[in-house]
């Protein structure tokens, strides 16, 4: 999420990273200006592009959320019509999932994976450029549907058929196309990451020596490879239902609307883990650094991540407890969902045990990581409650669910991204972020997040359904609090932009090893990291690592 301009002086630095690497032919003829960014194949520049893009989209999606919260500020319809309200909830979800969180993780992967495994660049640099530039195309197309006749997608980010097929606005075909392009971008990114991690590690670095961020991203990339094609399949079926008269999801033609949900959640549940596993990796890097103590149970963490990824394919129908599944299916998915709490719990216990008997300091990355552990766990608890199928008959499609997944995604995924940005900013820019402002950002965000999402638990339990533009009077107090919190949270993210911009432009100089307890390979290159690093593979020194 950080707009970080790669160092302009990098050409002089190009071979200083590790002595001996001579710049390859072609570096001298770098295009300038816009063409440099359009054509760049450098993993750091592309990483920055991803992060800038996702930050912009984070604010676009955030604006949509604020429209929703403004309308829900008090009962009655004041600002927008229900039709536009539905477009806003849908777009908020789509943009945040596909254009903010996922590209932010890909951006961090682009920047950090080569640095953490001692590779000179990603395995497929030109593909890397292409997969980034697909994103602006996809989301310009998606956002443009808002201006088409009939409006943009208005059927929720889960786009259940037949509301998204037979009863959808005409722009749905463009929505499908946009999602296809974004999906291809994610797939290409995943291929690149897998190829990089499997083939480009520094000599001597085995799989079990890799930092956890690399491990979690490897598993995430496999998840992407497995489920993005399923999403592509589902939206292709929708496209055919809408335009070519098939009836995959239309009961009238012998299809089945419930099939859509099975297929969607077969993609959708692993997708949830795609958005959280890299966050686990970031937090697992930050907590040991600031506790000055090795990560507790490194191997368990890797295995738990793999176990979560495998289990994520077995739990999809817990999103569908009330569609009328047979009893046996209901029980199966309840049990498998409850079991996923075990490896997730293992991770939390490992982080807490890493803190135990450490030597802990509280710089801004650590604050965000600690908030992640606490608030993600709270989201996990409500997830455990939702797993109890009979109780889910009451929770399903209420604000309780909204509270649950926002706790997992906002102070979960997004806080982890911000923690990662603060953690690696010294490496990217050569300057420490302004600690006072960063702490201010942290405390504002903590207050804002909890004020926004905690009351939603109560609203949901009291009976408020999701995705309604207006509500009964007994929900008024909760919504008032949530709306105030949302505007406060939104405004406090401007501090984040300020910190990042200030950090790019100057600040306290950071040494190569910017944090006292940091051990991974990225801290062996100078800060700011020159444009080209590890052109000669580094010597991997295992004693500094996990065993």
């Amino acid at each position: 999420m950080a707009p970080k301009l790669p160092p302009q002086h990098s050409l002089q630095h190009s071979s200083t990273a590790v002595a001996g690497g001579h710049s390859q032919h072609g570096h001298a003829a770098q295009p300038k200006g816009i063409m440099r960014w359009l054509l760049t194949t450098n993993h750091k520049e592309i990483g920055s592009l991803y992060l800038i893009f996702s930050l912009v989209m984070f604010f676009v999606g955030g604006m949509f959320a604020l429209v929703v919260r403004a309308e829900l500020f008090q009962p009655g319809l004041q600002l927008v019509e229900p039709e536009f309200f539905n477009q806003m909830t849908t777009m908020h979800g789509l943009i945040m999932v596909f254009a903010a969180v996922m590209p932010a993780f890909t951006g961090l992967a682009n920047w950090m994976i080569p640095l953490q495994i001692g590779a000179p660049d990603m395995a497929l640099p030109r593909l890397n450029n292409f997969s980034f530039w697909l994103l602006p195309v996809a989301f310009t197309l998606l956002l443009s549907t808002l201006f088409m006749p009939g409006g943009g997608p208005n059927f929720g980010w889960t786009f259940y058929a037949p509301l998204s097929t037979t009863y959808a606005p005409p722009s749905t075909t463009f929505f499908i196309l946009a999602l296809h392009i974004a999906g291809i971008s994610s797939i290409l990114g995943a291929i690149n990451i897998i190829a990089t991690i499997l083939n480009m590690r520094a000599p001597g670095m085995r799989m079990m020596d890799m930092p956890l961020f690399v491990w979690t991203w490897l598993i995430t990339a496999f998840l992407l490879i497995a489920v993005m094609p399923v999403l592509a399949g589902v939206i292709t079926m929708m496209l055919m239902d809408i335009n070519f008269g098939t009836s995959f999801f239309d009961a009238a033609g012998g299809g089945d609307p419930v099939l859509f949900q099975h297929l969607f959640w077969f993609f959708g549940h692993p997708e949830v883990y795609i958005m959280i596993l890299p966050a686990f990796g970031i937090v697992s890097a930050i907590i040991p650094t600031f506790a000055r103590k090795p990560l507790f149970g490194y191997a368990s963490m890797v295995y738990a991540t793999a176990a979560i990824a495998l289990l994520s394919f077995l739990v999809w129908a817990h999103h569908m407890f009330i569609v009328g599944l047979p009893l046996t299916a209901e029980l199966f998915f309840m049990y498998s969902t409850m079991l996923i709490a075990v490896p997730t719990g293992v991770k939390v216990f490992n982080w807490v045990t890493t803190l135990f008997r450490g030597s802990i300091s509280f710089e801004s990355p650590m604050l965000f990581a600690l908030a992640f552990v606490v608030l993600f766990t709270i989201g996990g608890f409500s997830g455990l409650m939702l797993a109890i199928a009979p109780a889910d008959f009451q929770y399903h499609d209420t604000y309780f669910v909204v509270a649950h997944f926002h706790y997992v995604l906002v102070p979960g995924a997004i806080f982890a991204i911000m923690a990662g940005v603060y953690y690696w900013l010294p490496k990217w820019t050569g300057h420490y972020p302004n600690e006072r402002l960063a702490q201010c950002h942290f405390w504002c965000s903590i207050i804002g997040v909890n004020l926004t999402f905690f009351p939603m638990h109560f609203a949901g339990l009291a009976g408020m359904p999701r995705r309604i533009p207006d509500y009964a009077l007994q929900f008024a107090d909760f919504n008032l609090l949530s709306s105030i919190g949302a505007f406060f949270f939104g405004a406090s993210q401007l501090i984040f932009v300020l910190v990042v911009v200030m950090c790019v432009r100057g600040g306290k100089k950071a040494p190569a090893k910017a944090w006292e307890g940091a051990e991974d390979l990225e801290w062996s290159v100078p800060s700011p990291a020159p444009l080209h690093t590890f052109e000669t593979p580094p010597v991997f020194n295992r004693t500094h690592h996990h065993d």
């Binding site: 395995a123 497929l124 291929i191 480009m200 490879i225 399949g233 089945d256 099939l259 009328g324 000669t536």
Partner: protein, 196 residues
């Protein structure tokens, strides 16, 4: 170093080929899930989906010890000017007994049209124990203008019907069938100015 590079690029190529193969496989798998799901539904009765192929009557001893109430519900849908009615809205049968009930379709408009009755059974655990020997729901029906057609449904409940089931509801929803030539007119209906 050049050696190392070529080893790497071979590795990268191999990884790319494998992941792309996996991608294509998963995309195909998504489409394969459609028929798989169908088969799965019919085998397990999930979703109350009924096997739409005729079954042979199995001659088995009628279980006189219990009665099952079978309810019939007929529903219309938008766009098809047909009326569907059933002679008895419910009947009581013994498991193992073969039963017959007449359904009447009436086309209320002057033009011919095609329709299909989509069946659904509740509770879904009864689905696999319901044998339809003959059903109008197996295929699309055509009715001429103002035509009235009576078609019997012949079915049998299997003796091994779970003991806790005492009521079975069969629901038929009539949907219009748009044949290729008619698809264009269907799309016309979707255009704004035309519909009310």
């Amino acid at each position: 170093m050049a050696d190392n590079n070529s080893v790497q690029s071979v590795g990268v190529r191999r990884t790319v080929i494998r992941t792309v193969a996996a991608l294509i496989g998963m995309f195909a798998f998504a489409f394969a899930l459609v028929p798989l799901y169908d088969v799965f539904c019919r085998v397990t009765g999930l979703n109350g989906k009924v096997d739409t192929t005729a079954k042979a009557i199995i001659h088995e001893e009628v279980d006189q010890s219990r009665y099952i109430t079978v309810q019939f519900i007929t529903r219309g849908s938008a766009g098809l000017p047909w009326q569907m009615s059933v002679e008895n809205r419910q009947m009581r049968v013994h498991p193992g007994q073969t039963a017959e009930v007449d359904f009447t379709f009436t086309n209320n408009s002057g033009a011919e049209s095609w329709g299909r009755a989509v069946p659904s059974v509740s509770p879904s655990s009864a689905t696999t124990h319901l044998r339809k020997v003959s059903c109008f729901c197996f295929q699309e029906q055509q009715l001429q203008g103002d035509e009235r057609l009576t078609i019997p449904l012949i079915f049998q409940l299997a003796r091994d019907l779970p003991k806790d089931i005492n009521t079975i509801t069969l629901v038929y929803t009539l949907y219009p069938v748009h044949h290729l030539a008619k698809d264009i007119s269907k799309n016309d209906n979707n255009t704004i100015g035309d519909s009310i």
